[in-house]
Symmetry: C2
Subunit: 490 residues, 2 copies
């Protein structure tokens, strides 16, 4: 919405809605006091450390993930939450196994690799080790322009550089299939990151149909650039050993827990995160922080005896990393209830210093979110509402028009840690996690507690359709422009 | 020197010295043009990449180090430098071999280690692998305060945090011996770094006399903090496997090359760096950058036909990392010539954006260096002269009163890369390396070309002893203070 419209609308919300939102001010203060001065201080951090240190990485298909899910359900039950349950999901069981790579000519140099999720291994090669020359490309276009004969049997190294995650992710996702189509034996992908200290970044890759499945791993920025320089000087030969295997699917669970609403129990505000992680690092940033501010939101409200008018539902999705498996299952199981889903929020973009809540929905809904976030202006930035509320596990809800939200935070360094061994408690700050907890808990509570539910496309707000104030504002603006113009003409 | 003294001295240098220094202005411009507009553009970067990519890490005692030394001498000869030579040095041959660590209880978790230089391995343990409980301390004092019985047979983990390199280095140097004195079986040291992305930092350690030699390795900040948290919850047991071995000393060489001075050939300005590196990373920052700006300094002057009045000598010390071995040998071999050493400069603190030349010497000498650096004000900061000119390989010269210098540069992120796999070409910038080359080459040339040689303690400057202007300035200041005081009293 433009500043001009905002000015004319004066916020646009009916005073009764504003008053209703503002009636939550004391509750937000209670939540804040509990987190900053009460038992809640550093509780998110302590719980996150206990959980991630105890379990370690929680990859889809592993016993550790399932044990950690059981542990989490026990925690939720011990907090006396309602309807704690695990909804069954079949999840992939891919394991990287032992893996190594070495340059064998023109000289010997070992280097770090991390197989990408769902990659096949090099089991079919002699001795289980692939030896081949490399060919380095900086883009799909460069690969496409090559003769198949020049790529045949080689290891394609993608040295695509960094121009944002959206630029790099397609290479991680599809680099193997693109290389296989040209006859390559394997692919190595520069880690999708803006900065590494020789830190490889794993992630999921997707084999395309009717294309050979070749081994694919990520390498560090340092080695991608090194191999690029080396290949411009002469032939470079690598050995690649990857014991990656995909086993039959395993049983897993999306975790559910609720605080049943006092007035509109059928209407649901969903807050969540994903419980699984990659098998490197401890899954602290991705997505332990999201899991634990969500757990805190539920337990703080429960412990403070704060029951919103609508139902607040925690969902901890399983197997996000390997294809949003839990999220898809959850959507299929609950899409027939979508009319009752007021907003679906996930925190999976880091828990750095909070800026507010990211939101995707109508302009009228955004006005309402902004009014809520004014209650939290001590902990937010600007309007307290970020441009986009999109998040991996809420994508299907967003696609059918359900409002979605996320934790908007200062995550400029997110890709330092993403899918790496550096995703550990060291990068997490206890005070900052408390700030995130305050924002996440308060926003969730108020979204679930307003008499006016957050509108979606075509819905009226507070009994007045959203179009009406917009029409008034546009008419007023038009009149004002004419008035100003005529005065200038004098 | 205080601002007050500077004011009174008005620069302090005799006009003839200033004029002589300023007569080098055109030469500095020729050097600058060659590097920024001529054949020298990005030459340091290209040569550094070719060298470090081709050879890789160059650890003391390795064939690679010796081959790279031969290669470097051939480069120096091909540039027609004078007196290219290798001065023999016996150097340590320590190899880390295979190494790994894993937490075996309360759960399994592999983690990264890097044995510290000169560490013994775990060969004497059952199956070559040590298994023991850990005890975590944050300081030597905490370790000292413990009962020996509580440390006996354990792995002492030092989680000393970061409070500057000077704070952490003693733990890396002496942690093993401190732990051994309390009966520990091994020691793990938090990497001496301000920031890691799960990047361990190796380095040299020193066993103390009459103390058991126990295996010692560094671990990441992430794991030091992890083990600290874990140990506060209950017993933690690790397995440590280190095949580190020290072999008999090997032959190595300090590399020498000169441009013989046109007027005072016996007087020498030494510029240098160390050619060896650790066995992790490519030895690009530590100390490839220093090596190649020094090489550039010599070759640029030679190619431009610029012969200073004094001799300019390149020294590339060997085996710096494992105890300044080359530097000590060079000092022993040449200390009887110390009267002729005008200044000894090493670049071993990074080649980030230059700020000028760091300098340690008398105030009078500093005045002279500042006058030289005014010629380079486009590429420097403030006076262009940093507070300290100390550097590892020049320490013995500094101790006997020879003026020392280094490349003063914006190396705030030096400890991101120091002694890690991330010490690669990725962290180096071609344009920035050109700026360093300009500063290093120009400073070295002018220091070698002034009629007045850089004075040392007790030496006169320009025919007037250094004490005289200082006496005058102090007397003047005293008179001024009395005058001002008496006016105030009126």
């Amino acid at each position: 919405m433009s500043g001009f419209n905002q000015l004319l609308l004066g916020g646009g919300l009916k005073q009764s809605i504003v008053d209703d939102i503002n009636s939550n001010k004391d509750t937000v203060q209670r939540i804040t006091d509990y987190v900053q001065k009460g038992q809640g201080k550093h509780q998110a951090y302590e719980r996150l450390a206990n959980f991630t240190d105890f379990w370690g990485p929680r990859i889809s298909g592993s016993k550790v993930l399932e044990d950690s899910i059981t542990d989490m359900m026990n925690i939720l039950r011990s907090e006396n939450l309602d309807n704690v349950d695990g909804e069954p999901v079949k999840v992939p069981d891919w394991r990287r196994g032992t893996e190594w790579a070495t340059m064998v000519s023109p000289r010997e140099q070992d280097f770090e690799i991390l197989a990408l999720g769902s990659s096949v291994g090099t089991q079919n090669e002699t001795g289980g080790t692939l030896e081949a020359e490399i060919i380095v490309v900086t883009s799909f276009e460069e690969l496409e322009s090559m003769n198949d004969a020049d790529v045949l049997g080689k290891i394609v190294v993608f040295n695509q550089g960094w121009d944002g995650y959206g630029h790099g992710k397609p290479y991680r996702d599809l680099g193997a299939s693109a290389a296989a189509k040209k006859g390559a034996a394997a692919a190595l992908i520069q880690s999708v990151a803006d900065f590494t200290l020789y830190t490889p970044h794993t992630g999921q890759q997707v084999y395309q149909d009717n294309t050979a499945q070749i081994p694919v791993a990520c390498i560090t920025i340092e080695d991608a650039e090194f191999l690029n320089r080396m290949s411009h000087r002469g032939p470079v030969k690598l050995q690649l050993h990857m014991e990656a295997v995909t086993y039959p699917e395993k049983d897993s669970y999306n975790i559910i827990a609720e605080i049943i609403g006092s007035e509109y129990p059928d209407q649901v505000v969903v807050i969540g995160a994903h419980i699984d992680s990659w098998d490197v690092g401890m899954g602290v940033m991705d997505d332990g922080g999201g899991v634990f501010i969500t757990l805190q939101a539920m337990t703080i409200l429960k412990r403070l005896g704060l029951t919103p008018k609508r139902t607040l539902r925690l969902v901890l999705w399983t197997a996000e990393e390997e294809g949003l498996i839990g999220a898809k299952a959850y959507f299929e199981a609950h899409k027939n209830e979508s009319d009752n889903f007021v907003i679906v929020m996930e925190s999976d973009g880091g828990t750095f210093t909070p800026r507010g809540i990211g939101f995707s929905g109508t302009d009228d809904a955004r006005m309402m979110i902004e009014a809520v976030m004014k209650l939290l202006s001590d902990f937010t930035q600007g309007t307290g509402v970020g441009e986009s509320g999109s998040s991996p596990d809420t994508g299907e809800w967003e696609a059918i028009g359900v409002p979605v939200g996320n934790l908007w935070n200062a995550n400029e360094n997110y890709f330092y840690y993403h899918h790496t061994h550096a995703d550990s408690m060291t990068m997490m700050d206890a005070d900052v996690l408390d700030l995130c907890t305050i924002v996440w808990t308060s926003a969730a509570y108020v979204f679930a507690n307003t008499d006016q539910r957050i509108p979606r496309e075509g819905e009226s707000i507070g009994g007045t359709t959203a179009l009406v104030p917009n029409c008034i504002s546009i008419t007023l603006a038009f009149c004002l422009m004419i008035l100003l113009k005529s005065r200038h003409d004098l």
